[in-house]
């Protein structure tokens, strides 16, 4: 049964190694001054990669039933909905309607 996946030692160790490298990287990029919107994007991109690695290999989503992956992605999707629709208000509070 594929859901009883037993990770090999090299896998676990290299996953942890990759996470440590990415942690170093995310601190290191702050030493070079990337201009305003891109520094956030880089930081979040690295965090997403790290989170994906944890979810896939530590939490076994890579080997697990695909339904669990869908469930997890669903939470991200609805969080995105929450953020983006709220921003539709807060970013345009003083703007009025574009057509007027």
């Amino acid at each position: 049964m594929s859901t009883h996946h037993i990770s090999t030692l090299p896998t676990l160790l290299s996953v942890a190694g990759a996470l440590l490298v990415l942690t170093f990287l995310t601190v290191a990029v702050t030493w070079i001054n990337i201009p305003e919107p891109f520094n956030v994007i880089v930081a979040i991109a690295i965090a997403i990669v790290k989170a994906a690695i944890v979810a896939m290999f530590f939490m076994n989503l890579y080997w697990d039933s695909k339904f669990n992956t869908i469930v997890f992605l669903l939470s991200i999707l609805f969080l995105t909905i929450f953020v983006s629709i709220t921003l539709l208000d807060t970013l345009f509070r003083d703007a009025g309607l574009p057509i007027y």
């Binding site: 049964m1 859901t3 009883h4 037993i6 990770s7 030692l9 676990l12 160790l13 996953v15 942890a16 996470l19 440590l20 942690t23 995310t26 601190v27 702050t30 001054n33 305003e36 520094n39 930081a43 979040i44 690295i46 965090a47 790290k50 989170a51 944890v54 979810a55 530590f58 939490m59 697990d64 039933s65 339904f67 669990n68 469930v71 997890f72 669903l74 939470s75 991200i76 609805f78 969080l79 929450f82 953020v83 709220t86 921003l87 807060t90 970013l91």
Partner: protein, 218 residues
């Protein structure tokens, strides 16, 4: 599952309404994943507050983040990654019936989680010493921004809720150590350890986002 014969003779954990242990295991894990969804959305509310206020006051977030100690934050990130590794190793050990090793790995995870909280404690005390409190008690004058308290309110809410989750995770890990010592988990039945692992990894994932968002604003 391949080693059902190995599990023979052990006390059966199969509840009456499941057909077999696989069905029970997969149900528990699915339930845990759905629970993790609720965790993501609960933290999500705080992330939304963070995003809204950062979009409104980017200068405040830049100024206030200078007060946080990147070195301590990075150390805590490393500590949590290490704890994620040890709990993954613990699950592997249980799956291979190496119960002693599993107990050691779980204890190491507990220790790392404790280290995280101790570092967090010193960070909080440092802030409190300067008068950086959440909410009305805030009295620090080093940040020249009228909204300065809002950043730290969000900071304390996010790290505080995360800290509570670390505590809950520690309680769960402690419980797993007791279970392992009693011989209640083994290769034929390791559902609780697996689910504790999932919870702990989620705590790690949330911190992976908190670290750059709170500490690394340049």
């Amino acid at each position: 599952m391949g080693n059902q014969s190995a599990a023979a003779g052990r006390k059966s954990h199969l509840q009456h309404h499941f057909v077999n242990e696989d069905q029970q295991f997969e149900s528990s894990k699915m339930g845990m994943w759905i629970f993790l969804v609720t965790e993501v959305l609960m933290f999500g509310g705080l992330f939304v507050a963070y995003i809204i206020y950062r979009a409104w006051h980017p200068d405040l977030f830049y100024m206030a983040a200078q007060e946080l100690d990147v070195a301590l934050g990075a150390t805590n990130t490393v500590v949590l990654i290490a704890s994620s590794l040890t709990i993954a190793l613990a699950i592997r050990a249980v799956q291979l019936d190496k119960i002693k090793a599993a107990i050691n790995y779980l204890s190491a995870t507990l220790l790392l989680a404790g280290t995280f909280l101790v570092i967090k404690y010193f960070e909080y005390m440092d802030k409190f010493g300067k008068g950086i409190y959440p909410g009305q008690a805030y009295s620090y004058e080093g940040i020249h921004h009228e909204m300065a308290v809002n950043f730290f309110s969000i900071y304390y809410m996010m790290t505080g809720l995360h800290g509570i989750h670390v505590l809950v995770g520690m309680a769960l890990i402690g419980w797993m150590i007791i279970k392992a010592k009693k011989g209640a988990v083994h290769s034929g039945y390791y559902t609780p350890v697996e689910n504790t692992g999932l919870f702990w990894h989620l705590v790690d994932i949330i911190w992976i986002f908190l670290f750059p968002l709170l500490y690394l604003i340049d």
